[in-house]
């Protein structure tokens, strides 16, 4: 999985039937220290993430393994909202502290 920041939502009227009712988010992938990278991905949200939140993104066929994602044509899903990240004993990100 990879860390990402929710940059915004994607509005789409014309889409395949199996994507109807799914929330599409624009995610900027970030490093463990939450510094942005140049990589973006559009992901289906199954956990109710909001703009600005740090989330976990899963890719490939694994992105279809959540209950709500069975048979949804997606290769990227948001599967968790991150509370904190610890690297080598140091807290690099804490949602409560921003």
């Amino acid at each position: 999985m990879e860390l990402g920041r929710v940059e915004g939502t994607i509005v789409s009227t014309a889409k395949v039937d199996r994507l109807h009712g799914q929330k599409l988010m624009l995610i900027n992938l970030v490093n463990p220290d939450i510094k942005p990278t140049s990589n973006y991905v559009v992901a289906v949200d199954s956990v109710g993430a909001g703009k600005g939140e740090i989330v976990l993104v899963v890719r490939g066929s694994s992105a279809r393994q959540t209950q709500s994602m069975q048979n949804v044509p997606t290769d990227a899903s948001i599967i968790a909202i991150v509370d904190s990240v610890e690297l080598k004993g140091k807290i690099l990100y804490n949602k409560a502290k921003g």
């Binding site: 999985m1 990879e2 860390l3 490093n31 463990p32 199954s46 956990v47 109710g48 976990l56 899963v58 890719r59 490939g60 066929s61 694994s62 992105a63 279809r64 393994q65 959540t66 209950q67 994602m69 899903s77 599967i79 968790a80 909202i81 991150v82 509370d83 904190s84 990240v85 610890e86 690297l87 080598k88 004993g89 690099l92």
Partner: protein, 90 residues
């Protein structure tokens, strides 16, 4: 499967129900000499690895099937702890 070194943790309260009680580890991908490649991924941890542990992990669709009783939405899963790495010096 590939080798990795556990370097930290990620906590998340709000997550997919299938990931409930699954530990999330920050893991650096290492080469055959256990040298870090700089690539850090978040892995589902099935074995309770701790900081500094050398592990082996699976990616892609295989990472979904690491637990015997459930499929998890994971694309990187730690499936074993390395006790010894025997490499002949030739």
């Amino acid at each position: 499967m590939r080798l990795g070194k556990v370097v930290g943790k990620v906590w998340a309260t709000v997550k997919d129900p299938q990931l409930a009680a699954v530990k999330l580890a920050l893991m650096e991908v290492v080469d055959e000499n256990q040298t870090g490649t700089g690539k850090i991924l978040i892995a589902a941890d099935t074995i309770g690895a701790g900081d500094g542990d050398l592990v082996f992990w699976v990616s892609g669709g295989e990472a979904v099937r690491a637990f015997p009783d459930k499929n998890i939405p994971s694309d990187v899963t730690i499936v074993g702890l390395v006790d010894h790495l025997n490499v002949s010096a030739s």
